[in-house]
Symmetry: C2
Subunit: 483 residues, 2 copies
């Protein structure tokens, strides 16, 4: 992969794996050459997307009453062992620090329940301190033993974790719904990534939770990728960490807790995989670090004049908070076009003598690879409209593709066929309680697929028998291949 | 320290240490009860200030052509040992991870030169790739063995590090000046914290640097606290990490490097220590998480009307991007006043029947503890003006106090007197080269003070003899007590 290579055209649908690796490198999103398994460098183009994603997600959290905070990256071993299910689930994944001078053993946080809840037990005294809704932007660390993949599965990732406390179970249940709605509002309706809100089977819930709702997205190769999940912790952790409040009647009670964890770097992987095409990145207008690139087409006689118009346009965009850039490098125009298409800049404008004469410019639209003619005087306003249309189009296209990848299956053969063709299978299943685990294990072994769970956002009624054990089917489940 | 305590009044000047600890707890900036030495929790009020500081600092970095990036938190041992001065300086402070399954030994970054420069060596090929100016927002970890203090000296801190590469030494020197100017533009002129830009003595430079310029601030107890520093790395690291470029004449050369490190959490300590008073926090208008608090003074007859006006005012502020809040809690007005004064909210407005009748409100101004009468219809505009004045006043007051704490000293007795009274001493000194180290050690041992260095922003001419060894004085140095 040399710098001089100016073609891309790897088929995303036919060879997603190569496409994904190549696009991350060529669009300068990440660099995998850091030399430590599971740790990648996020380059400026990637960092600028991540920053925008953080801002949007954090503002959604603030709007729903969550306060920001920062907790230490390290967690003492003692805290970590307080909730039995949690320690069992996470211990194999923990990075420990080398002991210094007999200090207590410290873990790098894989998630922060055990860091935060000891503090909550000091901060919460009365029902007036509830609800407590708090989040932090943080890096977390997990010792993945499976094959790692940039942004999708690594040993360090960039995430947000929200941890809430409530007086009643009812309020905690409402929070789970609010979290699902937030995933819909941000990940789907802003970032354009479709998902299924799945209540996980009993055997697949978060260590220490009563139940877990995951958001499952699909990659172009048909593999399921789990995005933000919400855990109903009930009182498991509040009992372990002694998080109590005194109610209106002076009675001491344990709080009910929920937590929610959008992994920003992983969501970026879905954004890239969902919208990108065989020419490179395609980014929602809202997330693109550069929204409009202006390419001056200099000619001998009017070089100065063209430069002046390009810069003045650039200022006009700036004033309207549109992120634009004049590409004044000494590359050939074709190279510039290729470069910014690869990077997923939504709009490109060429300014040359012809445009100055006619007072009109062609706006190249990245996702459709089409041009529209716009009067220079309307350009700034028109870009705003085109930007809104752009995002609506990406979201609709991704949604159609996603919906087309869910198939109802009536027997095992159909399930196999569905999974093998890169789709999600929907079928009647005995149970997502402990008694369904055997059938799920069969699916895992025989079909290399995972039972994702049942819909958390709607009630689907099962009928007939489980396609695997023949017992009465109590649930409609979804299954897909996963990383 | 119970919740019911509604007095503060600890003297900042007479008992800074107690004042500082108490204010961090009472204003809910940090919580020191996390239970691991050197690691504190940043509570929402502190986190919101930190977020604002990050935004302002990052925008200053972008404006001067720096790109954001994210590098891994862990650094392989091998990288870490490549620059001899660096490894010697940092090794005692490094946290190491426990080895897993024979992987390479990993350090938690204490700073990221050795993480970033190996990548720079892959990214930089030609003079056209220069200058490369990049920063990251990151947490860093140092195993401090001295007494730790929240935000001032800890084992984890919240910082930014910018790492730049240039073709020539001259450009690198210009970057050092740009960094000093950035500290002036952001830390002084926005955050209101005065400093001296000091070129460090030879024995006190950054491990691996040619020279270091530190920004020294002073705490109310007279102790020096080092804020952003810039290091001229020359070619030390580029040679160790093989960061080369091919110039216009096809010749291969090593780049010149600089790095700059504002520690946001530590700068917040200076902001708090500089502006706070005996009633709590005082925050620059620009940094305050809440800029205006509206306290409705309900009376029986007009409760609804008052609430309506308060909320409508709140909306007016929001539209003009002024961060306001209606305190509708069931606390008594006096408790509310105390609470928001403690938190350093710049302006408070009470809205009651009287205000509705007269169409005028009193704006309580936190730093001066005075009220001004403003017409309701002009309130939003007036708050903007008052905000600008507020920050100008804080900066001027802090600057006067800072300048009054630098004293010229003619002999050792005067130096001792100056230092003992919580001031910075300025005097003639033999040398900040290696040959001055002996006199500096004497100062450290005998006066418990540190030679901060010589002014980096102006040339001061020495005269006479060194007050310690009697040799010819080559420099005018500054010394102060430090943490």
């Amino acid at each position: 992969m040399g710098k001089s290579k100016t073609t891309f055209n790897i088929s995303k649908t036919e060879n997603f794996s190569e496409w994904y690796s190549e696009i991350l490198a060529r669009a300068e999103v990440t660099d995998i050459r850091y030399g430590v398994k599971g740790f990648v460098v996020i380059r400026p183009w990637g960092a600028r997307i991540i920053e925008k994603m953080y801002r949007i997600y954090e503002s959604a959290l603030r709007r729903t009453g969550h306060d920001p905070s920062f907790f230490p990256t390290v967690i003492p071993e003692e805290n970590f062992t307080k909730e039995a299910g949690h320690i069992e689930g996470f211990t194999p994944e923990v990075f420990w620090l080398e002991n210094k001078q007999g200090d207590e053993k410290l873990a790098l946080r894989p998630t922060s329940e055990t860091a935060m809840y000891q503090m909550y037990s000091m901060w919460i005294r009365s029902h007036r301190d509830l609800p407590l809704k708090m989040y932090q932007r943080a890096n977390v660390f997990r010792y993945e033993t499976k094959a790692t993949r940039p942004l999708i599965r690594g040993r360090e990732f960039y995430w947000i974790e929200a941890h809430n406390c409530f007086a009643t179970k009812k309020e905690a249940e409402a929070q789970v719904k609010e979290d699902i709605a937030m995933t819909e509002a941000v990940m789907h309706r802003v970032f354009g990534v479709s998902f299924l809100a799945m209540k996980r089977p009993e055997w697949d819930k978060f260590p220490g939770a009563e139940y877990t709702v995951g958001s499952d997205c699909i990659l172009p190769d048909g593999k399921i990728i789990q995005q933000p999940s919400t855990h109903m912790l009930g009182q498991h952790f509040s009992k372990a960490f002694d998080v109590k409040y005194v109610d209106e009647k002076e009675k001491e009670k344990f709080v009910y807790q929920t937590c929610y964890g959008p992994a920003i770097s992983r969501i970026m992987a879905s954004v890239i995989a969902t919208h990108g095409d065989d020419n490179g990145l395609v980014l929602p207008y809202t997330l693109a670090p550069v929204q409009v690139v202006i390419v001056p087409m200099y000619s001998k006689d009017s070089e100065q004049k063209i430069g002046k118009v390009a810069n003045s346009l650039n200022e006009d965009f700036f004033e309207e908070q549109i992120e634009s850039l004049v590409d004044d490098s000494d590359k050939r125009p074709g190279e510039k076009f290729f470069h910014w298409e690869m990077k997923g800049v939504p709009f490109r404008i060429e300014i040359g003598e012809r445009e100055l004469d006619s007072g009109e410019v062609n706006v190249f639209i990245r996702d459709m690879k089409e041009k529209v003619l716009v009067k220079l005087e309307n350009l700034v306003e028109e870009i705003k409209n085109l930007g809104v249309e752009y995002d609506a189009r990406l979201i609709a296209k991704a949604g159609d593709s996603f919906n087309g990848r869910i198939s109802d299956c009536k027997d095992k053969k159909e399930i196999k066929k569905t999974l093998d063709s890169g789709k999600i299978a929907r079928f009647n299943f005995c149970s997502v309680g402990a008694d369904g685990k055997k059938c799920a294990e069969f699916i895992e072994k025989d079909l290399s697929a995972r039972v994702m769970g049942i819909r958390a956002d709607l009630n689907e009624t099962a009928s007939g028998k489980c396609l695997f054990c023949g017992e009465k089917a109590k649930e409609v489940v979804y299954a897909g291949k996963s990383y």
